[in-house]
Amino acid sequence: MIKVRNICKSFGAVRALNDVSFEVRENELFGLIGPDGAGKSTLFHILISLMKPDSGDVALWGLDSVRDYRAIRKIIGYMPGKFSLYEDLTVEENLQFFASVFGVRVEENYRLIEDVYRHIAPFGKRPAGKLSGGMKQKLALSCALIHKPRLLVLDEPTTGVDAVSRKEFWDNLKTVRQAGVTAIVATPYMDEAALCDRIAFINNGHIFSVDTPQNIVKRTTQRIFAVRAANMRTLPALCRSLPGVMAAYSFGDAVHLAMNRHDAEAGEIRQQLICLACEKVEVKTVAPIIEDCFIITVKNQK
């Protein structure tokens, strides 16, 4: 059980975290969703006792992250955003080293990492620096898990990893969760949010909407339209000029339009865009997904 209460942290004039509070439940896969520079890494550093907050406190199963840092460092597994294992050591040697650091033998907890590690086990004698991005992340996860931590903290584990490896990685996380490990994952990828039990949006050092992904989507009252037209490049700007538009942003091959008005209709928007000299206009109502919710939430805040 993790309780984060009113955390503030500044670096000089920059406010990295602003009154951040949330809770993570036992054995939960918790997602921290937000863009680069939102404050995810700083929050993690405070969470795992690597930084002191300016104010507020963090309790991990009752352990204070400043006072009880020694105890905390025994029960967490941490995987930084940057690949930080030893590239000149082999896969096996890296794993062996981290096992020794935590005073465990690799065999003891091998079952926990088996699902992850068996993908890289055939390359056991290869230097970690010669692994692909996806394999590096799997090795880093294995090393972070080898002492069976109570809390696993992963900072953007899938950044720079191909789509297939990303999926495998998330499958691995589910297995880890089933083994009873609580995990907090930071990611800038909105589609990964749906894979978490609960998520929190983070932007500019503020936390919003801590809930299950389903509830967050359900709670969204705005109507979302997908718009396509011949002039895709100028379309977001044109859309923003329409009355009642809360946000317009490129989304795949369309522009998503979040309308404040609950009675907004696709036909009406289409007519308005044609008046603005758009050609081949197509407007469809779509169900909101996490990314829409994030943008709406951030917009609401402003």
């Binding site: 930084m51 000149d88 650091v101 935590f102």
Partner: protein
């Protein structure tokens, strides 16, 4: 396996895998000893000199012959006028002029006090001093060999103890050892710790149960072994190649080296606790350690000739004590009773550095 043992194994693997650096670590000390040993040696041998013989008698000719046959000097120029001396020095064709006074032979025979003047090119002060001492020695022995000469009332007899031929390498070897050991140990450890900071792995180490003490000892141990090998290499080179005598006990020499290596490692850790990047650590070790070790350990420039504030500075730098202790043991054959004070000073320095390093070691990122 304990965390510390695992850390030492991991650290040793880093060192062994980086074979290019490893080669440099073994080649540099050897190269330094050979280069400095051969080049810095300031032995007097076949130095080109001029002779200004004002007497032109048989005795002055004998003296000239004696100087020429000493092996130290090679008279290449005959000077006939005072005004020729300065230009000859300027052109660099000679380093010293022996001026034999008028009526040299007859004054000598009649006990009137024959005069020989030595004029040295003091633009290189140390060399000039050394040359004049050597020349004086040759002339004294020439005068002593003449039965007719009444001995002077006070006879100064100079004997160079422990290093009778004033062999420069005897000075250089302990100095090079001081230099090589402090650079390899302090610079390499500080680099290896700052590398982990740059790489980001320090973040994981900090977030683990490893204590600063474990990290530091884990880092230090492999370099301790490496530096010991280096110390042995340098001593053996000095002993076998440059014939530096080993009059004291090997155990004591080893102990001195061990203490010095420990001290250097502690210094390296301290540097890395303060330096955020490898670049900073490197410059700090080079300017903070290399230069003071070279200049203020008494290895190239004699400490006695320095202004008081530089002498004071040299007292708070550990290499000085090491060089003194090594010289005492190797050349003078001193025992522990003589060098224990210097050992204590070095141990104290080491402990202070180590304590400061453990204290300064950041257990968090900010």
């Amino acid at each position: 396996m304990t965390a510390l043992k695992g850390f030492i194994i991991k650290e040793s693997k880093h060192i062994l895998r980086d074979w290019k650096t490893l080669v440099i670590l073994f080649v540099i000390p050897v190269a330094l000893v050979l280069i400095i040993g051969y080049v810095v040696s300031i032995d007097v041998k076949d130095t080109v000199i001029g002779v200004y013989d004002k007497a032109r008698d048989s005795e002055s000719a004998r003296l000239t012959a004696r100087i020429a046959s000493s092996g130290y000097f090679k008279p290449v120029k005959v000077i006939t006028h005072d005004a020729e001396i300065a230009p000859a020095f300027r052109s660099g064709s000679i380093r010293m002029v022996v001026v034999i006074g008028e009526r040299f032979g007859s004054r000598m025979l009649q006990n009137e006090g024959a005069v020989v003047q030595i004029i040295a090119d003091a633009s290189e002060a140390n060399t000039a001093q050394l040359l004049s001492i050597y020349c004086e020695g040759v002339i004294q022995s020439f005068a002593a060999g003449e039965d007719v000469v009444v001995k002077p009332p006070v006879e100064v007899e100079v004997r160079m103890f422990f290093n009778p031929s004033l062999n420069g390498v005897y000075m250089s070897i302990p100095g090079i050892m001081a230099l090589v050991l402090i650079i390899i140990t302090a610079m390499m450890t500080s680099l290896s710790i700052t590398r982990e900071k740059e790489l980001g792995s320090m973040e994981i180490l900090l977030a683990s149960p490893l204590t600063p003490f474990q990290i530091i000892i884990g880092k230090v141990t492999p370099y301790l072994a490496l530096a010991t090998i280096n110390a042995v290499t340098v001593v053996l080179l000095g002993y076998f190649v440059f014939r530096v005598p080993m009059t004291g006990s090997w155990e004591l020499l080893f102990l001195i080296n061990f203490v010095y290596i420990f001290l250097s490692l502690a210094l390296g850790i301290l540097i890395s606790s303060l330096a955020p990047t490898q670049m900073v650590a490197m410059f700090a070790s080079l300017f903070g350690l290399l230069l003071p070790t070279m200049l203020l350990s008494g290895f190239i420039f004699p400490l006695e000739n320095m202004p008081w504030w530089l002498q004071a500075l040299s007292r708070i730098l550990p290499p000085r004590y090491y060089v003194e202790a090594v010289k005492a043991v190797m050349i003078q054959g001193s025992t522990l009773e003589v060098v224990w004070q210097r050992l204590i000073v070095m141990v104290a320095f080491g402990l202070i550095y180590m304590a400061a390093a453990v204290k300064k070691f950041k257990i968090r990122l900010d």
